[in-house]
């Protein structure tokens, strides 16, 4: 058992190395993963903040953009796998005596590294528009770990989407489209309390809401006074719910992805 685990880790770290080399050689990829969040921070911070609560909103906003951006990590994983599939690299990997888990774990791990970079860039942009961490070191570290855990979880969902897509073109749109409702029906940009009935419940139970609220909580960010407090059970336990839902997503999607990987055929 431990021998299997060791070889999975070893093989996936080799594949992680290969993926990171790829990302380094195609800087466009990393550019896409950092420029878009920067743009979001600046747009929302200056376009919306005026009517939504000024400086307080800007601090509120960053937690939401953190959550949104790491959720979009899923699309990065989708594209990475779809490309490998299309180019026959997955066929090569599948003909090697390595665990089925290793290829996907290698991909979700390298995408985690991309996310760490993205989080650094966004934090710096956040500082620029007035966002601050008001909590202690331990709490702030917990905040970043929680964000990375959620990023990792979303990456597994993205992996499944990538392996389900028949072509790179399909992956390009399918990989993104589901992320818009997921991240917008949440407390990422506005509080859930003012949403209409069904949407409100969906938003309250949306893990993205928990992640956004949890990061605000762990970084001790200000919330505009006019915003209603987070509602529902998840709203009262955002950190716990963010962690639990991330773990649940991994527990469900990792096996599904591995099963799909076994059957996946090129073309």
């Amino acid at each position: 058992m431990t021998a299997v685990a060791t070889s999975v880790l070893r093989d996936s770290s080799i594949i992680t190395w290969r993926n990171l080399l790829n990302i380094r050689r195609i800087p466009d990829l990393l550019l896409g993963a950092t420029v878009q969040p920067i743009m979001f921070v600046l747009l929302f911070a200056y376009v919306f903040a005026g009517s939504l609560g000024g400086a307080a909103y800007r601090e509120f906003l960053i937690g939401g953009i953190f959550a949104q951006t790491v959720a979009f990590n899923a699309a990065f994983t989708t594209m990475g796998l779809a490309n490998d599939l299309h180019k026959g690299i997955i066929d090569r990997f599948r003909s090697l005596p390595i665990s089925r888990l290793a290829v996907i774990l290698g991909r979700t791990t390298s995408d985690l590294a991309v996310n760490a970079i993205t989080l650094v860039v966004m934090s710096l942009t956040g500082l620029l528009v007035g966002w601050r961490i008001h909590s202690g070191f331990a709490s702030a570290a917990a905040g970043y770990l929680m964000l990375l855990l959620f990023a990792f979880a979303m990456s597994w969902v993205g992996a499944l989407v990538g392996l389900l897509c028949r072509t790179v073109e399909v992956a390009q749109s399918a990989g993104l489209i589901w992320l818009f409702p997921l991240t917008f029906i949440s407390s990422a940009f506005v509080p859930t309390g003012n949403m209409p009935g069904v949407l409100k419940v969906a938003a309250e139970w949306n893990p993205v809401t928990a992640v956004a609220d949890a990061s605000r909580e762990l970084f001790a960010n200000t919330v505009p006074a006019t915003f209603p407090p987070p509602g529902g059970w998840p709203g009262e336990h955002s950190v716990l719910y963010a962690v639990l839902s991330s773990v649940a997503i991994i527990a469900v999607f990792a096996p599904l992805t591995v099963v799909r990987y076994r059957r996946v055929a090129r073309r």
Binding site: I15, R18, L21, G88, I89, D91, R92, F93, L96, P97
Partner: protein
């Protein structure tokens, strides 16, 4: 231990309404090359994918390097080297990095993986390009890199899916050389090809497949005997010489020559290839019969298919 590198019986695979394989049996003794010869869409890639554990057959069984592809795919993967129809190299990695990665994934420690990658780079004459990313490679170089990737672990069984399709003549010759070396090393090789000439050159035995079935098998000589071997064709200066030449050719070739007085053309099936051609010219020279043009025509895949199936090879592509 079985002395067979590959052994398969009754392989069937259907994709929707397409019957890609319709009951294929194959046997490849260790240290020999089986050429799987067939037109586009015949089922070659499907067969390779099943034998390399990428695809499960709907029916039938196969053992590769003595292990069952269905019950022990992981074991099979440890013994095979696969070079698929489209070179599966990582374009953003250098040639060296590609081979290093594969070596590491075969479980080699870092230093051994580096040594193995270097050795393969040299063997496949990629030294100058070793530190360049593979996207700068020509088609032939990519193919060589992909082949090298298949050989990283000194596999007992090597599967090459159309290794020369799309290569220029020089790249093709290079690849042939590598394949011959492989066999000299004792590997069992499954080689698919659309070219009779290639199968003739490299394969110990050939299985001709069409629409998912093996329609003929044997050595290339046996197949040529079935198809009719090479044709020696001549164009004479004078139509009047035709009867005399016909007598000479009938002694050298097999069967009766076909002749056409109007174009002064005469041809016959020969077994001896170039030897027969030289012999024919020598005799005609002795009799002072002038010859305007002469040529040896090897049977093409089309000839084989026409003969074996009664339809041209291309029609196999649209089932």
């Amino acid at each position: 231990m079985s002395a067979l590198a590959v052994e398969a019986e009754g392989l069937v695979k259907t994709f929707g309404s397409t019957q890609a394989l319709d009951g294929i049996d194959l046997q490849i003794p260790q240290g020999t090359v089986l050429g799987l010869l067939g037109p586009n869409g015949a089922g070659k890639t499907t067969a390779v994918r099943i034998l390399s554990t990428l695809l499960r057959p709907d029916a039938g069984w196969a053992r590769v390097a003595g292990m069952d592809v269905l019950t022990d795919p992981h074991g099979v993967r440890g013994k095979i080297g696969l070079s698929g129809q489209y070179a599966a190299v990582d374009a953003n990695l250098t040639g060296f990095e590609n081979l290093y990665m594969i070596s590491r994934l075969y479980g080699m420690p870092r230093s051994r993986a580096r040594a193995r990658a270097r050795a393969l780079i040299t063997r496949f004459r990629l030294d100058e390009a070793a530190e360049r990313t593979a996207k700068t490679y020509s088609g032939g170089m990519r193919r060589r890199l992909d082949l090298a990737g298949a050989l990283v672990a000194n596999p007992q069984v090597v599967m090459l899916d159309e290794p020369t399709t799309g290569l220029d003549p020089r790249g093709r010759l290079d690849t042939w050389e590598v394949i011959s070396e492989l066999v000299a090393d004792g590997a069992g090789v499954l080689l698919t090809t659309q070219y009779l000439e290639e199968a003739d050159q490299l394969a110990d035995t050939i299985a001709v497949i069409d629409r998912g079935r093996v329609i003929a098998r044997g050595t290339s000589d046996q197949l040529k005997a079935q198809v009719g071997g090479e044709r020696l064709e001549m164009v004479l200066d004078h139509a009047a010489d035709l009867p005399e030449v016909a007598v000479v050719l009938a002694e050298i070739g097999s069967g009766q020559p076909t002749l056409d007085a109007q174009s002064r053309r005469i041809s016959i099936v020969v077994d001896g290839g170039a030897k027969s051609l030289i012999e024919a010219l020598r005799r005609l020279d002795l009799q002072s019969i002038p010859v305007q043009d002469v040529g040896l025509h090897r049977p093409t895949l089309d000839d084989v298919f026409l003969k074996l199936t009664g339809h041209a090879a291309e029609s196999g592509a649209t089932p």
